[in-house]
């Protein structure tokens, strides 16, 4: 049985620091997606919101917030929170409700307004919250995790600081051709390597910023798309994979890994298992992919994803990068949108934005950043506390 759903429309609000209410961004993205799909607001039967936890109650009930803002129509709503993977959870909820026959047309919407600087834990003393404790006990920040992974690559696989900088240079160049990216600035290797060291070996220009932004996707049943005479880009798989005990890879916000004394390590590490699940569900493999959108919270993390998505063998990510395989025009372009390096992270919108990029690429509508002849693509990210997500789309 096919589990495909159609992507009828996509829309985004440019990423940036605009200082406006997150709802405004979301409305712009929604209106663009409706226009792109050729639908009216009243055609939407389900509003699946990805939550933001930094904008008070309206952010927690994102589905209802956008339903009210666009005008109540009695539609179904849902709101999903899974940190950075919230958007993928919302996409999966919309897909499941369509496949279950509860609705034919669903809007997935994620929007955020973020504070300046590194994301910090919520205020107050919370001695039972690992996300609070890691800061108090040792100053373990988000860049700590990115940097530990990066240094491990250097000591074990021979990655260099130049490799990490080269990822930023590549993604910045990709992002220059994307009108929705926050930054449109070309970087040289030297400029990146001269930026201040934040968490050795990672520098300021290699760690993603936080941004405002919004992305929307309109999903429909294949039958509905057919009734509109559209040959749509299809969602082929949505993995919302969690770790398998014992999780022996260090996951934010933990300060330790699970013990593998009683139960031996799972066959695949967490990140590899996310992509594996998506490929299985889609009936496709890494060789079928024309492009990938991955969560480059740091430039070095993008290299881990090459291996976890099966784009190359373990320890060979640096070679893939150095050979130019992952830039537009290469064998398997990664982060054609410009990635988080060009966007900065707008948490609930980011996983939705990844799917917008796949859609434009697979339609052949990606302009100067178009991957020629793209037929299928994969997205990947991880949200705090074990929320893996990966979406596969194809023509």
């Amino acid at each position: 049985m096919s589990h495909d759903v159609a992507i009828l429309g996509v829309g985004m609000h440019q990423w940036g620091k605009w200082g406006k209410n997150f709802v405004e961004y979301g409305l712009k993205a929604t209106q663009d997606a409706l226009k792109d799909a050729g639908l009216e607001w009243r055609d939407i039967q389900l509003i699946a919101g990805a939550e933001t936890v930094r904008n008070g109650y309206p952010g927690y009930v994102a589905g209802a917030t956008f339903a009210e803002a666009m005008g109540w129509t009695g539609a179904r709503i849902s709101s999903s929170y899974a940190a950075c993977a919230s958007g993928a959870q919302a996409i999966n909820d919309a897909r499941a409700q369509i496949l279950a026959g509860f609705c034919d047309v669903a809007l997935v919407i994620g929007a955020d307004t973020t504070p300046k600087g590194f994301l910090a834990p919520n205020a107050g003393e919370r001695w039972n919250d690992p996300d609070w404790l890691r800061f108090r006990l040792m100053g373990c920040t988000n860049p700590t995790y990115f940097a530990l992974a990066a240094r491990r690559r250097m000591d074990v696989y021979g990655a260099t600081e130049e490799d990490f900088a080269a990822v930023k240079v590549k993604n910045a160049r990709h992002g220059m051709a994307n009108p929705y990216a926050r930054y449109h600035k070309e970087f040289t290797l030297q400029q990146v390597l001269e930026s201040p060291m934040v968490a050795d070996p990672l520098r300021l220009f290699e760690i993603c910023a936080t941004s405002d932004g919004a992305a929307a996707v309109i999903l429909t049943s294949m039958e509905f798309a057919k009734s509109r005479n559209v040959d749509p880009v299809k969602v082929r798989a949505v993995a919302t994979t969690t770790p398998t005990f014992p999780c022996t890879t260090l996951e934010m916000p933990n300060i330790s890994t699970d013990s593998a004394v009683a139960v031996s390590e799972p066959t695949r590490p967490f990140k590899a298992s996310i992509a594996h699940d998506a490929y299985e569900e889609a009936g496709l493999g890494p060789d079928d992919m024309s492009l990938a959108e991955v969560y480059d919270l740091s430039s070095a993390l993008e290299l881990d994803w090459y291996e976890n998505l099966g784009l190359c063998a373990e320890g060979e990510a640096e070679k893939l990068l150095r050979d130019g395989d992952t830039r537009i025009g290469g064998r398997i372009p990664v982060n054609t949108s410009g990635g988080l390096a060009s966007f900065g992270e707008a948490v609930p919108a980011q996983a939705v934005a990844q799917v917008c990029e796949l859609t434009w690429q697979l339609r052949g509508d990606a302009g100067d950043r178009q991957v020629k002849g793209a037929t299928a693509g994969i997205t990947a990210n991880i949200g705090l506390f074990g929320h893996g997500s990966s979406v596969i789309c194809s023509k």
Partner: protein, 145 residues
């Protein structure tokens, strides 16, 4: 000798006695180790135990990775003294427990000496000083060769 009173940053997570070590728990049924301590329910999906022994963890292990921080983290991080000083975080793999535990690098150890795979030992050191008290935490230090 300093007479500054000391207190742990967090109670019952580590001990000096007889040597510095972390305090974990071990499931009485499946023998999985936990740090921080698990006391209510075993997280092994095939184990339904809620009985744990409190156990000392290995006080030596091997470096998995490490990073030095040059910017002051947001609260609830507490800076020791007036000025922020860069600090290093190390992930150390404990062989017997088959797990990794993060901690800061000991004050007198050098970031430049670190390398994946080298042996480290656990020490108890000051994390920050506040209101006349030194608040103590576990840290990792290259084993004296």
């Amino acid at each position: 000798m300093s007479t500054t009173p000391t207190a742990p940053v967090i109670e019952d997570w580590f001990s000096h006695d007889p040597e510095p070590h972390l305090i974990g728990t071990r499931c009485k049924q499946c023998a999985t180790y936990y740090f921080p301590k698990q006391t209510s329910f075993c997280r092994n999906p095939d184990c339904f135990s809620s009985d744990f022994d409190e156990v000392p963890l290995s006080r030596t292990g091997k470096v998995w990775s490490y990073t030095k921080h040059f910017y002051q983290p947001p609260e609830p991080f507490i800076t020791d003294g007036e000025e922020f000083e860069p600090y290093t975080i190390v992930g150390v793999e404990l062989e017997a427990e088959k797990m990794m535990v993060l901690g800061q690098l000991a004050a007198d150890a050098s970031f430049e000496d670190l390398k994946a795979g080298i042996e480290m030992e656990l020490v108890i050191e000051k994390l920050y000083h506040r209101d006349g008290t030194d608040y103590m935490i576990w840290k990792w230090k290259p084993t004296a060769s």
